[in-house]
Symmetry: C2
Subunit: 200 residues, 2 copies
């Protein structure tokens, strides 16, 4: 059994969204599963001293142009949401809580969250919106509310983010294949070659 | 006559070196020339508040791995030089001075400078090394020494760097095609599609 491709992302990351639409098929073409790890980029940036692209001089304007262009390049729907970026604690906590019950359904939920934000412009930084999206996936609102307030669920996300940083993750999307790190949706061609050739 | 692809780079930039080996053929395949613009990334970073990748937490270690892997991906020779990064005033000044006499020969000089640093490990941050590389291109040492000390040549590089920043350039390599900006050697597939389709 081949090891899965590890996929780290923040639900507020445009390039993470693009990667989320591409990575499963890419990995499957080479007989690999993908382990999805939503993390909190804000916490990561505290470690790296970095900040969101859109807040950086010159880079912000470029990124605003590159996000939709990269989506068009990959043939994916994309609309820049406002507000942006948003806090993604609720989205990521809901994901992990659901994942531990039904990992396949949680993958569907993750796609729904990403598409809600980057295609439909719904504010997934708002916990109430996250619950509404969860309800559309058949989850009970009261159970979700309890999960989002559960200290063990909070701790799970905190631990996942810390473990990501410990593995060198500094941005979104970030992939690890058999110990080899790839940062950015623009590294998917190298990741694909790595899977295809066993390393180059 | 189609407008040239504008190519901005620092002679100390690994991804700039990779781009320098690829961009002319890519542009030529779509009937375009390339206008090369060496700039001083240090001066650009003063504007953007950024710093070299290798000095950033976590990103530095990743970059040290991604530089040679990206070179292998593109089938290009690469050896990480020390010291790195280096100041590239001498290399860039010599380029502009020579360019204004013989632009085709200056392109050959630019390749020689990049390969000296990133393939042969020669320190092009040392002005004496830059002169030695220039001599191998048939340039007279005394004339080059005079050029590197010439205030108009210094001003030329300063102006080119300032103009690059004014056009939004924040890193290396950076390309502009008919007003559309592309940052990074990993954007060459998008740049190629842009040239091929006239924008997408």
């Amino acid at each position: 059994m081949k090891t899965p491709v590890e996929f780290f992302f923040d639900f507020s990351s445009p390039y993470g969204y693009l990667a989320s639409e591409l990575i499963d098929d890419l990995a499957a073409a080479h007989g690999r599963q993908v382990a999805w790890h939503p993390i909190l980029l804000g916490a990561v940036f505290k470690t790296t001293g970095s900040q969101p692209l859109v807040h950086q001089p010159l880079k912000g304007g470029y990124a605003a142009r590159d996000f939709p262009r990269s989506a068009r390049f990959h043939g994916l729907p994309f609309t820049m949401p406002t507000p942006f970026p948003v806090a993604t604690q609720a989205a990521a906590r809901l994901y992990y809580w659901f994942h531990d019950q039904d990992s396949a359904a949680a993958r569907v939920l993750a796609h729904a969250l990403y598409r809600a934000y980057f295609v439909e412009g719904r504010n997934i930084g708002d916990a109430a919106m996250v619950l509404t999206i969860g309800e559309a996936q058949g989850l009970e609102r009261a159970r979700m509310e309890a999960a989002l307030a559960d200290p063990t669920v909070k701790e799970r996300l905190h631990a996942e983010t810390g473990e990501a940083v410990a593995q060198g993750v500094f941005g979104s999307p970030y992939f690890i294949v058999d110990g080899e790190p790839f940062f950015g949706v623009d590294r998917l061609p190298q990741l694909e070659k790595w899977l295809r050739t066993g390393g180059f």
